[in-house]
Subunit: 131 residues, 2 copies
Amino acid sequence: MSLDPLSTKFAALADPTRRAILARLALGETNVSELAAPFAMSLPAVSKHLKVLESAGLIRRGREAQWRPARIEPEALKEVDGWLEQYRRLWEDRFDRLDAYLKTLQAGEKAKEKTKSRKAHASAKRRPAKR
Amino acid sequence: MSLDPLSTKFAALADPTRRAILARLALGETNVSELAAPFAMSLPAVSKHLKVLESAGLIRRGREAQWRPARIEPEALKEVDGWLEQYRRLWEDRFDRLDAYLKTLQAGEKAKEKTKSRKAHASAKRRPAKR
């Protein structure tokens, strides 16, 4: 099945090992054997993951036969971010509504307290002074 | 294969029809038949996509037997955004570097122009007045 570029990116990101590889590459470029070490994975397994990330445009690999460093391509993630952008409004709106609601609650509490203290004050005044 | 929650989300988003369904639901909740109409898809096909989105936590569905409205869950996308956040620095850094480089170029151009105009000015002064 041939996917559109954005779907290919999402599919490539749908794997914790590939996301861990990206996180490692965010620190700087490196090659397959260095990438394989912390994952306790075979070189072919890591190579396969790198191929998926590369076809998705999320990484780029050097062409040197011996040392083919993999490098992260942040622009590809920016595309994912661009897609998310249209939904950001939704959770921000929701947060704003929650915020407004909390402020209403707080305002209500304050108003209640004010009324209470005013009443207490008034009743203290009405109370005849003890001696 | 059972995926971690973030992988499940990415996998669910790796399909243009499911992303289109999300875009429709961002406008407001609706049910399967209304969702199916613009896609020229069978109801079972749409239901299947909704199931994938629901297991990923990206939508929620009402429990009413007749009208089971689907609703987008923006919080789930916020989680994807949170993951992206750590990489934002990378493309922003790259943009900042490009910006700094362009400014250096511009500054260089301006300096050159200044020197040129100063030289032109100086040579005009040195040039003996005609006539």
